[in-house]
Symmetry: D2
């Protein structure tokens, strides 16, 4: 059974993860992990910090000679900027006054976190709540991807919208995988151009943007998840995974919210039998019926809110003095929807890997492949 | 720590639940539970079955003299129709051929479930996958409601849309609680009239409808959920709870998907300090920032797809013969959005109760109240 | 993944359990379950209550036509005496004063439980803490036994000692299964005679006895449990299962505590290779090395303390008045070691079933058998 | 809720742990952690490796300015010898042939682990199964100790026996804490002398020794653990924790196995009321009745088998050639009972911390102290 536990502060030594339950014998490709870490830091509209970091994964345990041992895999993504932050962030005695954050930022965990944890410095909250945490989730996600690809299960995704620039077209898995752009992870170049202009104008205004991203899972056989208990429903589990990503405020599967306005006769995917297989003419269910994968592609969408750290500063209050203030802003991004797509892929990969591990059991990648191969399509 | 485990088949002896972790000393009001069970069975557009059942809860353990003992609470909602189904559904030897379902129903767990569990009779899947399972979740939900109300935490909700009849107005918690209608759990009587007409015309066509419902949590202090681990994020947990409800295909918090099209300066809830309290002028975050409750009302919406069992029958295939067929239909509802609202409230109540139990710890309702009272607002 | 959740009060409506994760297609033999329930109530030295009850299991969900559905299995063991206790124990309004217990019993949860749960009546604690809870664990255990027997994994056990009457001989699995007596579940008739005399004389004195029981698992292939995480170690998991049984105060595996006094050269099971198989000349490890099953028989022993309810009454205090008192005694047993053996078998069966379910995954008994068959011996 | 996840190979980069759920505001004393790491490596009868390592903890996350943040705490105990092992153990490409282990060692996970994980080199198993894993459990244990000491809960322990040299005397918590020796963590110097001679003579013979250790918890208020579910029983949880420690083969609470031979009138701890408190004249229950802490000292004993790696080599087989062989031995210890005592303390500290965290809830050490202070004694 796969578990993923993460740790680490944004300006601490690094971000860390322990993954339990990876079967023995999986070959690990470090470059692919680093490539996805780079993708997480890229994209049109990103700020200065991403350039400083240039994340690389280090594997601290569980892998020998690029092959998993079956033991827990520990990952580190070291913070390259830590040397500059050491005197303010060290586990050992350090200067905690110098980087104090008191102007709590709307849209962040600052205010509620400070009350919850009884602290007067928002840094003690934001260091962990920061989306920097996702660096190691992405590294772990790539381990899961390599695991799932050994079973021919693939995950991809793209950005459907940035701000009001929306791409409503329909795309196949292959079109997404091959066609998504480097800048905004979009498929329609015209929409992307409009999106970039929105970003440019927001940047000038000191404002930010969000968007919608879409994820796909291809090759997942039917029967994953279960209708037998509410906790095992595949859509419920994936909804939780995606909503756990910083800034995601909505999740839908298949046609999602638009299904609510359809009639039953328009909403469901009728079933046919063709050349020895059950088939469908549509996939409005997004590959999940009754909480189980039905063998069609999984389709999920997530809505990312605009980044809450604005250069122009939102109105807020100094937590300690209660005086009106502008929200603290360090360097920040205007738009991170492509990065959010990368992170959402990781969260999805993690949850699919967990679900697969529970149904397959097994201790080695050979067992996994054999058992997966024997499942009914 | 609260857990909820459910069991039971739609036409079996009944639906069952065990709740662990309810503190000692909570007064239980059975009539309120039964009232909500009735509400789950009511609503404009429901079919014949709901009239047969008229569910009542029976408490089998964990409560003595209408007071919880601190031991696991077992709930039963007996299936009143079981006598008629006994010969086909009994745990003991019974006739499993007579009620066989082979025409797998699109939009249900039937097809994928049969492949997963290796059976040739969809009844062996649908009996558990059925939304009838939610009867006992609603009963459990009312226990959680009574528990949370002891802390002055309240949950309510209403139906925002049925089919294309949509209510876009803004309502306060009180307006919802007092104003929602019996027929469709809606607030705007004009929209409700339109919705009823949609239902009537769908009924004539043998078609079905879905809709959107909105849920609110009032009185939850700030600090529930945590930004420290991805599994503890409150929105992630609630998203999973809601998506686990049969027919729900989308979940959003606060302004949800619409946030994706806003600018940062429009999307966040600025912070003020007024009369000794941090305040906000808006609640687009839906009461959750950084994965934690921020002390504002929680606002969630869920999209329910149209009921997949249509009287006019969707195209499908006989699982065993592979011949084209019309999907099996027993009596069915045209619209169950109000029922879904009841069930989603239960799922939400359950998750909130779990989160509260984890933060408060404690063994008695007195301890719960004391500790809750001491939390920072 | 198998889970077992139990509920129910000793004099409430009954004892209840929900088992999740039983694969589809397992044939259930109700008579075998009831036979083990009877065995739990039997044995030389039992008191009057056991005769009243004569437990039978009722399956409330998860089984149809004596075959598991893959859905959660709900079990009930109804309390036949409930009619007489209804007016004092009902979930609804009842008379809670009439059966109040204030003289807290040493060796029971009474005193600590009352403080923990803030109650002045020990009945509110003892009703759940009572060993009567184990009735439904035994019923569940028999489901697990039938599941494991489908894989040719068998569990048995016997009583090694009652009081000072100790059987130190070595027995094979078969000898135990065939040779254990009905009266005290012992193998050596002479030791059993001595034990009966101890029981008789204790009965006269109003005193009680404990003992040691030994459990075996035969047919479990090597590789269950894992050395990779401390939580997955098979011996750790089984130790918890056995220690969770009422009155068990010690658990050991293989030669257990006696290993502490041996030299390494005497303590370990040397490895040979004979006729195509790795073999051992001994089994002092009790079938577990490094937290994993090594393919030899599992051997566990548990120590049961003497029953803490003595007819002659232990010295104690009235919880409310603080006056010295004799501990409350209703009718009670002198010796329940054979019953404890039955319960420990159930706890062991449950844990083995959990471990097996996690390694095999799978949704049907056919898948389980296939995957189990493919494991290396 | 506290969790502890560990990782790391014996000759890999290091040992790692992530602890979730440590409340905000706990002061961390690094020297005390390192002192216990040293104690784990010390003791009469230890081999050469312990001298190489001289473990130190590094905190990678969750602590700032020696104060916990409430975020997950990551610990590293780097393997100082890794430089010499890098070419054989690196996560990246390395020489896996040069340190191959084929002569599977009786008493270790080697044989069963190789079958389970499908490998032909026992190194791929033993690197994780090794007791070296406990280094980071000890580091984590010291964090838990500092947490519990903030509530005035203390844990100590000592070695009762090494081989056949047994100390049967009774000691108070204070006597243990102050009186245990550095060499063998024993209290009776005469017994210790005999034990040292046993060790010396075993060393000459190339043999090894085990022993029994005893643990105590002082200051734990009554009511921890619960009789309400089998999983929550305190003794069950601690039994699992201790049995998860490498080489432990038996666990008992209070008078443990010896209770099985007592009469009820001799076995239980009668209750008195004296100067405003419930008191007992004895503690044969070891502080736990009905699965709950009763406010007396917790007393546990664990039996450690002799170290299975003997210099004189046990008989075994080459896993790949099936030829008879002597078990592989690198440098090894003769006796590690004092080290096992340290590790068992850590395992106990961890489990107590988990149980306490679940009952107290709470996010800060201030909340923990307040809530703990309010519990009934």
């Amino acid at each position: 059974m796969i578990t993923l536990t993460t740790a680490g502060e944004s300006h601490g030594k690094g971000l860390f993860a322990i993954i339990e339950g990876i079967p023995q014998g999986l070959k690990i490709d470090l470059e692919k992990i680093n490539a996805e870490l780079l993708r997480r830091q890229s994209g049109y509209g990103r700020g200065a910090r991403q350039k400083i970091e240039s994340d690389k994964v280090e594997i601290l345990s569980g892998v020998r000679n690029l092959t998993t041992l079956g033991s827990p895999v520990t990952l580190a993504v070291w913070n390259r900027d830590y040397e500059n932050w050491k005197e303010f962030m060290a586990a050992e005695g350090c200067n905690v006054e110098a980087r104090k954050v008191e102007n709590v930022r709307p849209g962040h965990a600052d205010l509620a976190g400070m009350k919850k944890f009884g602290v007067s410095d928002a840094r003690n909250i934001l260091e962990r709540a920061s989306a920097r945490e996702t660096a190691v989730r992405v590294a772990a996600g790539e381990i899961f991807r390599q695991l799932l690809e050994a079973l021919n299960i693939e995950v991809t995704g793209f950005v459907r919208s940035v701000g009001t620039s929306i791409d409503k077209a329909t795309y196949s898995f292959d079109e997404i995988q091959k066609g998504r752009s480097k800048d905004l992870c979009m498929l329609d170049r015209k929409v992307e151009e409009r999106a970039k202009k929105e970003i440019d104008s927001c940047k000038e205004e000191g404002d930010t943007l969000g968007g919608v991203l879409e994820l796909r899972v291809n090759g997942l056989k039917c029967g994953f998840g279960s209708p037998m208990t509410y906790r095992e429903k595949l859509d419920a589990r994936i909804a939780s995974a995606l909503m756990s990503v910083q800034a995601v405020k909505g999740v839908e599967v298949g046609a999602g919210f638009s299904l609510a306005a359809m009639k039953g006769s328009e909403a469901h995917d009728e079933i046919y039998y063709h050349e020895g297989k059950f088939t469908r003419g549509s996939n409005r269910a997004g590959g999940i019926e009754g909480g189980i994968a039905n063998g069609q592609e999984l389709v999920f969408r997530a809505a990312m809110k605009p980044i809450p750290t604005l250069m122009k500063g939102l109105n807020t209050v100094n937590f300690n003095t209660k005086e009106p203030a502008k929200a603290s802003t360090e360097r920040s991004d205007v738009c991170a929807v492509p990065a959010c797509e990368v992170v959402c892929e990781s969260a999805l990969l993690c949850e699919i890997a967990k679900v697969v591990s529970e149904r397959l059991g097994g201790d080695t990648i050979i067992e996994w492949k054999k058992r997966y191969g024997e499942l009914v399509l």
